[in-house]
């Protein structure tokens, strides 16, 4: 199979609907794990979960920032150009969407587009692939979409993630929204969520 031509969703209409509802449920219920629709084949360099979300939400209207490792992968860049037509940007501050294959390649969150006080919706949505959505250090989430509180333990977040997130939360209504993906699932952290260290 030709990964470039055949690698997208087998059924683009219904699978992108499934993936969208997963992302919607993930952002509306932060801390819950939602199952994405998977593309038939994904280019080697990028996880199928990242591909699923980019296929679902990106098109010629959305500038896309790729981390340096993804950006250096010619086959992947071709794949995304063919399937989404999203213009790539080198400036994190100009990105509508940002995809990162690892927290090591992710710049500080405040380097991305944070939106403006008048138009907070213009901020970047970051999609970060992590090794796993469980088994890491415990975090406790509170905020809209969460009844009381919920505990999560994703692995592979940036070392100073909590401090970065507190700064991001303080900007509300400005700020980035974060989607963590692994193992066919997505976990949403909208800017409205407050995160604290768990027990």
């Amino acid at each position: 199979m030709d990964a470039l031509l055949d690698g997208g969703f087998a059924d683009p209409v219904l699978q992108s609907q499934t993936a969208f509802r997963a992302v919607l449920d993930a952002l509306a219920n932060p801390g819950t794990l939602q199952t994405l629709a998977m593309p038939q084949a994904a280019p080697n360099g990028m996880g199928a979960e990242l591909v699923s979300i980019l296929l679902t939400l990106c098109d010629h209207d959305t500038s896309l920032w790729l981390d340096p490792a993804l950006r250096a992968d010619g086959a992947l860049v071709e794949f995304l150009a063919f399937h989404t037509a999203a213009p790539l940007t080198d400036s994190a501050a100009a990105a509508t969407f940002a995809a990162a294959s690892s927290a090591n390649h992710l710049p500080p969150l405040d380097q991305f587009n944070l939106g403006t006080q008048e138009y907070p919706d213009r901020s970047t949505t970051i999609v970060l692939a992590v090794p796993a959505l469980g088994g890491g250090p415990a975090l406790v989430l509170r905020g809209p979409g969460i009844k009381d509180q919920i505990a999560v333990s994703p692995q592979g977040l940036p070392a100073d993630f909590l401090a970065q997130w507190v700064a991001n939360r303080e900007l509300f209504p400005r700020g980035i929204d974060l989607l963590l993906v692994a193992d066919g699932q997505v976990l949403g952290l909208p800017r409205s969520t407050r995160i604290a260290e768990g027990q």
């Binding site: 209409v13 992108s16 509802r21 919607l24 008048e118 907070p120 919706d121 809209p144 409205s192």
Partner: protein, 292 residues
Amino acid sequence: MTTVAQYNFAYLDEQTKRMIRRAILKAVAVPGYQVPFSSREMPMPYGWGTGGVQVTASIIGPSDVLKVIDQGADDTTNAVSIRAFFAKVAQVETTTRTAEATIIQTRHRIPEKPLGKGQILVYQVPIPEPLRYLEPRETETRKMHALEEYGLMHVKLYEDIARHGRIATTFAYPVKVEGRYVMDPSPTPKFDNPKMHMSAALQLFGAGREHRIYAVPPHTEVASLDFEDHPFTIQHFPEPCALCGAREVYLDEVILDDHGGHMFVCSDTDHCEDRRGAGHVGPLGVAQEAAE
């Protein structure tokens, strides 16, 4: 042989759905903030719920069960035609039963039965900007939201009290979402405002003519604006529903003859049918078995 042109699943083209989906995600991330979107022409006039229809078309999938209500009723023109529209273009199952629906599109009511986890309530919104009648300029209202400058809204409610002795606003009663954005709950009666607070369902609002989408995620604080000495109150009805005897529900007045005869019945038709099915009978109702 004639072949009927096939629409894309759920009518909208995929690029439009992606654009609306991105707006919905940002709306969920910033509860109460109105996200601009590029509203499309729909095969129905503005005022018939084009915003709600576009939101529903962008979220709906083949496994969804759709309920549509217009002022609480499943059987009015607007509700029937939108339900038929989605049955045709998305081949989804439709229902009138609140508990069975995964998506409920509504014009100006919230069902009496509390909504559950996983349900999505889609509102049709005519004027999304709560400050619009106070300040016609979009540049100004946008700045007022940005600066959280809502004094004008309180002045409006205060003028109500000065004139009428109470807050006379009874529908589209402004709310504050999560302590930040003042939001128009669409022209629902203020009776329904408390149902928005900490609801287990996701609430999405679509304004087609005005090109805005906004949202209230589940378990989110929605406070109706008021004053310490004039707290927010909802309407109370002196009589129960004439058909099912329900109290503490929103009632519609129905004229019975031209001699002033009238009765009050549940605005939520599904709720009323449910209660009558369970054997409740109001003062003008007929017990179900006797009626058959």
